[in-house]
Symmetry: D2
Subunit: 341 residues, 4 copies
Amino acid sequence: HDSPATEPAGKDPSAIALHSALPRFLRWPQPPRTVLIINKPHDEPTRVAFLEVTSWLRQSHPSITIIVEPATAAEAGSEMLDLVVADNSEDLTRVVDFVITLGGDGTILHTSSLFPTRVPPIISFSLGTLGFLIPFGIGDFRTALQNLIAGPAVPLLHRTRLTCAFFRANGLRIVTDGLDTDLQAMNDIVLHRGRHPHLTITECSVDGEFLTGGIADGLIVSTPTGSTAYSLSAGGPLVHPAVSSLILTPICPRSLSFRPALLPPTSTIRLRLSRASRVQADVSVDGRDVHLLGREEYVEVRASRWGIPCVAKGDGGRDWVGGINRTLKWNQSFVNTFKEP
Amino acid sequence: HDSPATEPAGKDPSAIALHSALPRFLRWPQPPRTVLIINKPHDEPTRVAFLEVTSWLRQSHPSITIIVEPATAAEAGSEMLDLVVADNSEDLTRVVDFVITLGGDGTILHTSSLFPTRVPPIISFSLGTLGFLIPFGIGDFRTALQNLIAGPAVPLLHRTRLTCAFFRANGLRIVTDGLDTDLQAMNDIVLHRGRHPHLTITECSVDGEFLTGGIADGLIVSTPTGSTAYSLSAGGPLVHPAVSSLILTPICPRSLSFRPALLPPTSTIRLRLSRASRVQADVSVDGRDVHLLGREEYVEVRASRWGIPCVAKGDGGRDWVGGINRTLKWNQSFVNTFKEP
Amino acid sequence: HDSPATEPAGKDPSAIALHSALPRFLRWPQPPRTVLIINKPHDEPTRVAFLEVTSWLRQSHPSITIIVEPATAAEAGSEMLDLVVADNSEDLTRVVDFVITLGGDGTILHTSSLFPTRVPPIISFSLGTLGFLIPFGIGDFRTALQNLIAGPAVPLLHRTRLTCAFFRANGLRIVTDGLDTDLQAMNDIVLHRGRHPHLTITECSVDGEFLTGGIADGLIVSTPTGSTAYSLSAGGPLVHPAVSSLILTPICPRSLSFRPALLPPTSTIRLRLSRASRVQADVSVDGRDVHLLGREEYVEVRASRWGIPCVAKGDGGRDWVGGINRTLKWNQSFVNTFKEP
Amino acid sequence: HDSPATEPAGKDPSAIALHSALPRFLRWPQPPRTVLIINKPHDEPTRVAFLEVTSWLRQSHPSITIIVEPATAAEAGSEMLDLVVADNSEDLTRVVDFVITLGGDGTILHTSSLFPTRVPPIISFSLGTLGFLIPFGIGDFRTALQNLIAGPAVPLLHRTRLTCAFFRANGLRIVTDGLDTDLQAMNDIVLHRGRHPHLTITECSVDGEFLTGGIADGLIVSTPTGSTAYSLSAGGPLVHPAVSSLILTPICPRSLSFRPALLPPTSTIRLRLSRASRVQADVSVDGRDVHLLGREEYVEVRASRWGIPCVAKGDGGRDWVGGINRTLKWNQSFVNTFKEP
Ligand SMILES: NC(=O)C1=CN([C@@H]2O[C@H](COP(=O)(O)OP(=O)(O)OC[C@H]3O[C@@H](n4cnc5c(N)ncnc54)[C@H](O)[C@@H]3O)[C@@H](O)[C@H]2O)C=CC1
Ligand SMILES: NC(=O)C1=CN([C@@H]2O[C@H](COP(=O)(O)OP(=O)(O)OC[C@H]3O[C@@H](n4cnc5c(N)ncnc54)[C@H](O)[C@@H]3O)[C@@H](O)[C@H]2O)C=CC1
Ligand SMILES: NC(=O)C1=CN([C@@H]2O[C@H](COP(=O)(O)OP(=O)(O)OC[C@H]3O[C@@H](n4cnc5c(N)ncnc54)[C@H](O)[C@@H]3O)[C@@H](O)[C@H]2O)C=CC1
Ligand SMILES: NC(=O)C1=CN([C@@H]2O[C@H](COP(=O)(O)OP(=O)(O)OC[C@H]3O[C@@H](n4cnc5c(N)ncnc54)[C@H](O)[C@@H]3O)[C@@H](O)[C@H]2O)C=CC1
């Protein structure tokens, strides 16, 4: 359980995942025994891929227990495959050795939401259109899984997460359904006017000091991972996942000079909806609306101590270079003159 | 002396100043004995300030030796003040306990250039218009210097630097006047078309892997400190000095999609002037032209192991917030509706 | 009544207000007899100003009939002042000689919405914080109104408007409450995801030709007047009101290369919500939500033949320069070095 | 001859090419008798194309006189082909009925520079990589030229130009080699620090009124045609050639809020190098350096009365849509989800 947000964990250096201190390779102390498979729902190619992956696992690694979400079990026909259906009361962190995701970027974001504390290693396979967070194509699943389960050491990319908590004007923590523990964000925490036609007015402070006032559609606090999500669309820079930082990016601000800013990973950012704001504001975590912030209420965001170890293709986050060039089409030259040597 | 650039020091984690590992406060093991004072030249208010600072030092701390550059000595009338004139053959790092700068941002950049390896703590005073890198106004010099010399502990802000080296097409290091040791940059290393009317074409790679091709006026590799210098003008984000990273920002690229990118502090960035480039390119370090890069020649940039300990006003780089708001006028709202609480 | 949108009026050059052809000065053929006064509602300073303006009009120009909206009448106490209350069935265009607005930018936008066809000259007074569209402060109302009513010739700034119409997938015009005539926009027509967490997917075509596909929070089609409203927040350029054009600006696009574009004033822009879009999209006109666009439905936007003649302070749109510098704080230098000559 | 710049021609509406007033189709009153062919020099494919075009012209239209520049004649072997070599003293405007360009965008820019006043229709063919200003590929030259010479009516796209003149601090016109007549720019007039490491400081005024102060690498005044040249690289919007306007775009300004601005086509823009500027500034016209501006000297820029009639493929500037999508890769979506209907 996290320390209370009012005593900013940002000040505790141990709470910040120091990239240099995290293992760059995954080595199992003992063979993995349980896998959680997460599927994009209602998608026929994903269902087919799921069946192929599970049969291969059954045959190649019969001792490994396969856990799935209820929806996946229902779609697949669970009896036949001897799947264990995850139940909400269970602490997945305790029982799952690694996670396989099948689908797009949303599938990993969903997986992140299932682990409020420590996250087991995740290996992700894309189906169809390439996801930015997904290094492996489904065609390679046999080699990739075999390497992960039995290979000597697969490279890991640690993705930091954000954690957030909500407070009333009087400083009391807001505890509602789903908000009683700190929420974890892999991409971003976004405050947005949503359906309201009018601008939000937000007071933004860092480590208790006033930073700036935002009159805008909204504000994004993003991880380096999320730098290529909403923040990018709003004009933010590309940030390599190994650059420890919190990215503050405004969404359509009423200002000519609200350039995106990168803050230290130890910062606690507070976004307080101003008394002068005509409207309430939606707060979303990785794209899911979680709270409607009232005037003078605030949300506190800081780096989480629980990052996500993602199985990578290349060492040192090299997949990222491929991703920004191929998926995001970074720096496409106008004319055909530039040839890579 | 630095390790050869062909064996990228970036891979050696000890070469990267880990912010968390550096002392946040300056505590003298024994009283400082030698100060270097650096002046903005040909500026009457600076000359006057210099005389005030030196007389105060003479009276309050008579045992401290004062070193100055020849130009400063000449302007001031050195005999009278018992100043020691620095001579080029001397290793300033060995003899100087701390540095005082009087002037604008350029004065600190110049000071950085005097220390190719370890840099002593620097305290900077602005004269007239506020410099972004300068937390103290000249009016406060007595208190600030007294605190620094005799106070229990003053806060430090560690600013990382970049180091660069030049190579011929065949990989041989270019050793010319002033280029025989790795150069140190506090702000940035800039490749630019300069006087040439035509675009430069540059191949940019990271840790030996091709990253992107730049057809542009130029490319900037910047420190977080330099993020508010040329990189900002070219569209880059604001980066807090405690965010360890290298910032790659294009200058007027022939591309709609060349968004600035933040790379890990362990990266070695190579900028190679393409064979297809019609023109040579100026390379400058902190605004000083240091080399005219020919076709197929390249410059290699990485984080230096020698950062700069700057005496700060507030702890944890808080001066930065004031600087971006007051000096850079960050996020100025259009209308008068936003009031700080 | 406008020509049907399916036969794009853009092709008819007479439909486009040619700035050069419009009168640059207002000269009354005969003294104005009727004024419409529009108030920002529920605002005490505005109510007070309204009373001052009406009493001055009563005394100085007793023959002028004063029309107001019902809400204004109610707030003011209409009997006493001998106000005529506008009723919805009336064609204001026919009876009103000029309009006075008291309030912020929103008040002029509201006024525009009251005139679906020809708009009489509008003179606008700001109360409190400066509005960008408002050249006059309330303090100057006597001189300004006297000049307008009796002076030889006051300068006019013609602001173009947009007109839009909605269509089903099958091309049938959508006729619903308030949508049976073409709507007029002074600022912009905005398609936005609104409350939906997911991106909108829009096909954008010009004069029947496919232009581009937008995957984004939304898209803005703006007038030059609206260039300083939402479009500016979304990254668009400043466009002087005398530059005849339609501005297309994306809101947070999933693309690195969706630069704002200026299209000819003769263009008809069609925004069609793609079949692939997961969500419906809100369409708003000058900030008022007017329609929820379903998949494959579209909105057609073009320059209106009915612009707005705004009473200006300086000739030739000079107020604009003051507005962008003072209200929008355009191009604020970092340092104090730049002094206007 | 142009009116003196001190009496801004911008005020004379007749000096502004009104797009709506210009012919949209080219119809010869009598068959064209003289063609000027402009080649990209020192390029073998262009030389070959030139020979093909001239032989075809000789055979299909033997009565047409072919004029070339001396360099082209030398490369081609002029005797054999019976080419007329242009000589500098001649007024090309008087003798040339139309122009063919073979090469890239630079070839059209060069052609523009040959016509200080009225420009004959230009048809442009690209060789190899597509130029943005060039609608025709060399493969289609026979059909395209036949249509142009004998066809009933080919569509024209009128591209406006800028004109500029230089002045000393005292207001006297600077008359030097090549500067004695107003220069014409098809793309842009650029003020830039060039080789100087320091920023330029410029006072920018419009129609005699102070507009803003630029502390920057430079400033661009661009035509809509030039909006896709340097201005685009510097962050400016895409402007359709039919949008009459002057675009002001800063190059790397020391300001967070210097958004590009579009000014009316009637504006006279004055860029004056400030007394406070530490350096002189290069002024270039369409990429050619033409003057080194001293402190307090200024350049005055306004729309030229002499635009360029370019033979277009589609009517109404439709080629532009193709160009921004294909050549400039405008709005490339990240993922493969968007399919044109
Ligand atoms: N205008 C925009 O760009 C908006 C973006 N979002 C982003 O969507 C995220 C939620 O994603 P989904 O559940 O998949 O929603 P979604 O289905 O609406 O898709 C958002 C898009 O972003 C991509 N994406 C997600 N995370 C990414 C990352 N880290 N890097 C690069 N691309 C990424 C997805 O592949 C998808 O194409 C939020 O965390 C937020 O960052 C949410 C709303 C608007
Ligand atoms: N268009 C631009 O913005 C250009 C910027 N530069 C920058 O100038 C630097 C050299 O500075 P000077 O020797 O003083 O040259 P300079 O006298 O030409 O001044 C450059 C300006 O940048 C400011 N500056 C310098 N470092 C800064 C920082 N880290 N953060 C915020 N502002 C800063 C200075 O106070 C000064 O106003 C280079 O390192 C480069 O980054 C150089 C050329 C063009
Ligand atoms: N993120 C943003 O910037 C958003 C902007 N808007 C804009 O708000 C407009 C509606 O305005 P209100 O009814 O007053 O809504 P509002 O009360 O929400 O205010 C919008 C702000 O924009 C200003 N504004 C309006 N038109 C302007 C113009 N042409 N130039 C400069 N500033 C202008 C107003 O003074 C006000 O400060 C819409 O047409 C849309 O352009 C609407 C939603 C979001
Ligand atoms: N960083 C940059 O983007 C720079 C751009 N330029 C531009 O180059 C122009 C001169 O062109 P060249 O003589 O060909 O020089 P150049 O050979 O250096 O090429 C400039 C590039 O811009 C392209 N270009 C030229 N005009 C264009 C237009 N109107 N729209 C789209 N692309 C265009 C050319 O095809 C070429 O790829 C200048 O007018 C200036 O606008 C000049 C210097 C730097």
